[in-house]
Amino acid sequence: MQEILQYFFSGITAGAVYAVIALGFTLLFNATGLINFAQGEFVMLGALVLITLWKVLALPLIVAFALSVAVVALIGILMERMALRTVRKPHPIVMVIITIGISIFLRGVGMLTWGKDAHSVEPFTQHAPVEVYGATLLPQSLWILGIVLIIVAGLQFFFKKTLAGKAMEACAISKKAAWLLGIPSEKMVLAAFAMSAAMGGVAGVLIAPITMSSYDMGTMLGLKGFCAAMLGGLGSVLGAVIGGLLLGVIEAFGVGLVASGLKDVLAFLILLLILYLRPSGLLGAKSIQRF
């Protein structure tokens, strides 16, 4: 019982981070129909920028948090402006390949800036772990879950209640029609890039205290986030969260009850099954275009 609960806590924590990464995929997909393979590198940048600002420059946590996310969002904007906007024939495959190139580029920048060694940082707050029926719940896990909750509530509000959110959704449905209605679709795409990159930055900030951060951490996290987004259904905010949490919990139980070597296998097995059996994901729209 105690062990089952512990696997659940481990899974929820990892899953919440996957969920934030999946949200990044989903936000961008919603507005542009693009899959950004540099999403994992945004996570890496978020983690390493936080370590620099908070640990090395000793800024207050809240400032370091906000600045890290802002820096990553800015990188997302630059990426859209410099690498993607300038493409003459924006065929989806071309765009996806460009994002892969950007991910390799960002990894190189990360290596040159922070070196090849891993870096670590303290948890947000120094509370003792909480005991729940013999299982340990870390304060950092509570922080992660709380922040994810706030993000999801904020996004739901943004898309359902605000004009900007609805405009962004309109762009996703039909860019041309939205443009005809006077929605500045170019700005919406830029905003989507900034928000999506910011999600990656948040995920990096959240994960930095529970693990070791290095320039090459992003690839695997990006893939896991992609799995989570596919599992929940690309394009659905709630789906991304459920997909992330589910993936984290499945992984933790896989390690705990089956075999530790199977952890990554499970994630990708799920991805393959979803693509084969239900390409729209658990909560996704029934029809989804794949390229």
Partner: protein
């Protein structure tokens, strides 16, 4: 027309370079020097091994030459960078043999690159003293192949000996999913019976995993007396932190793979209380005065740090020892490779940086488990345990 001129200029330059290159190769072969080759991963992901090894080799050669050389002849080093890649190591080996005509080779830095050059060395009958740890290099024994780095088996032996003293019988092991972790797991499992230790659970983790609480929870469920983690940074630091977070009060043993200040930095106060085996170089200042290696270690550390203005690492010593072992074997050999080989094999009681080498026709590593000492991390410092 202009383009053609440019082309012919390039051709001329290439010819000149080629002539100069081969010229240097033949002219310098005068017979008044003993030339030794070196192949190290000086750049690339394993440069943390190859870079100090190259520096240490150059330093050892300068020291020997300053002391008058060997039988009146100077030593000369020709060192190539393998970048940690077997194909480049093979190219370098061929070049050392056919162009530089070296008497013996020191290196390579990694087990895969060493295994790749072994056939070339054996075919050309050139003594090779490797700086890599893999046990496959010297087991089975090959006449021309030696190595100075401690095998993983010795680290396992040091851990198990310490456990026996502490009365630990049931252990859980957690190894990283790469060649280092696999080798560690294999050695831990094969040696367990010899020391009366039972492995109650074996788990693994990916080199880039961010969280090991699930594995540790599972190990906790089997009630072990101690946990052994086998990996290189950053995974083992995550394990140390998770263990502290889960409040598992079981002694944690790490491998020599994390024996660097970096590990303490990453794990923070979770590093306190961890046991691990390491070469004596990490705790040289804590060694008792009567330790046979103390003098060599102090001299090596002082000259390395004053010469290169960088902190010494545990790895350069492999190349330093290799050069001194070869120097001893070169004495009276008159440059005959078979004589070098057979006198290497007979070296015993050679006090090096890594340990005390006792080579024999059956043992081409020559180290015993006293090449490792057990240390405990206390308040972020390495603390040498009573042996």
């Amino acid at each position: 027309m202009k383009r053609q001129a440019g082309l012919s200029f390039t051709v001329v330059v290439m010819w000149v370079l080629l002539l100069v290159g081969t010229g240097a190769g033949t002219v310098a072969w005068a017979g008044d020097v003993y030339r030794i080759g070196g192949i190290f991963a000086v750049t690339g992901p394993s440069s943390f091994l190859g870079d100090p090894e190259k520096r240490s080799m150059e330093m050892a050669i300068d020291e020997i030459n300053a002391a008058g050389g060997i039988d009146g002849r100077k030593l000369e080093a020709v060192i190539y960078d393998s970048e940690g890649e077997p194909t480049k190591a093979v190219l370098a080996a061929n070049r050392l043999i056919s162009r530089d005509r070296v008497l013996a080779v020191v290196g390579t830095s990694l087990t895969p690159t060493t295994l790749a050059v072994i056939p070339i060395m054996e075919r050309n009958r050139i003594p090779l003293v490797s700086c890599a740890a893999g046990i496959d290099i010297t087991e089975p024994v090959r006449p021309w192949i030696f190595k100075t780095a401690q095998s993983d088996a010795l680290a396992v032996g040091a851990i198990y000996e310490h456990m026996k003293k502490e009365g630990i019988e049931r252990i859980g092991i957690l190894t990283v999913e790469n060649a280092f972790g696999e080798s560690g797991r294999h050695q831990l499992q094969t040696k367990a019976e010899e020391f009366g230790i039972q492995i109650v659970h074996a788990s693994s983790f990916g080199a880039r995993d961010t969280d090991m609480t699930a594995q540790l929870t599972r190990i906790r469920g089997t009630n072990p007396d101690a946990i052994v983690c086998w990996g290189t940074n950053p995974g083992p630091a995550v394990v140390a932190r998770n263990l502290q977070q889960l409040n598992i009060n079981v002694p944690l043993y790490q491998s020599h793979g994390v024996a660097s200040p970096r590990f303490i930095e990453l794990a923070g106060d979770a590093a306190d209380g961890i046991y691990l085996p390491t070469g004596k170089i990490l705790v040289a200042d804590q060694l008792p005065e009567d330790d046979p290696q103390k003098e060599v270690l102090t001299r090596y550390i002082e000259s390395f740090e004053s010469r290169f203005r960088m902190p010494v690492s545990g790895f350069g010593g492999y190349a330093y020892d290799a050069v001194y072992l070869l120097a001893e074997a070169l004495k009276g050999s008159d440059g005959d490779r078979e004589k070098i080989r057979s006198s290497l094999e007979q070296i015993s009681g050679h006090v090096g940086v890594t340990g005390i080498f006792n080579f024999s026709p059956e043992d081409h590593n020559g180290l015993s488990s006293d090449a490792f000492v057990m240390v405990r991390i206390e308040n972020g410092e390495w603390k040498l345990l009573d042996q």
